[in-house]
Amino acid sequence: MKFCDFVCKEAIQADLTSVSKETVIREMVGLLVSAGQIADGDRDSIIGAIMKREELGSTGIGRGVAVPHTKHKRLDRLVGTVGVSSEGIDFDSLDGEKVQLLFLLISPEDRPGDHLRALENISRQLRDDTFCRFLKQAKSAEDIQQLLAEADNNQFVS
């Protein structure tokens, strides 16, 4: 699965303003609502579900990356977005580092395979230091979109 298969371009945010875990999740879900990917009426239940998942263990998987996620019954395909925080967000990450790159994923309830393949793509690409660094330095949604497209064309993974 490639980034273009699940990342909603209209919801990419290069300049996240939030500084806490809950507010950044709220901000990113809001981006997906504004982009028309999820219904406004589902906003709070999705935010709640993502926060509940975080209580089971932070999705801050190290290297300044977090993958907050949940499932939702009214989705028929995996949707996600990417956000960058230049300040870094305290996310209780596994390695204790602040998070600068967030990939927020919302999956349909019955498609665990898609979620796994999205995680696979994210983790595979982020093992590349150059891709990781470029993303963290991205200044605009267009920059991010271009980096994701380059990653989709295997320009980072050897």
Binding site: G57, V65, H69, G113, H115, L116, R124
Partner: protein
Amino acid sequence: MTAEKSERSATGEVTVINEQGLHARPAHALMMCASGFQSNVEIVKDGECVDGKSILSLLTLAAARGTRLVIRARGDDAEEAVAALTDLIARGFGEDGGGASDGTK
């Protein structure tokens, strides 16, 4: 000086049984378990081999339910590491959809 070659190694094979597969939380549990041993731990899926102590590497396996994984360890506690890791995976990481394979629920 002893001629003793002390490095031990062990291998085990196990199937992923939990419904969601090796997603973030199980990958974290696997990493924590592997990191508790001094041995090097590798997880192999279809010939692709990753470091069992790196969550980012484990996630690249995208191991869905039904996937066969080989666990390889090298070091003084290799057998213990393989036993603990195969057990963790075989129990479905304690998630729903796992642990009921004996039919008892």
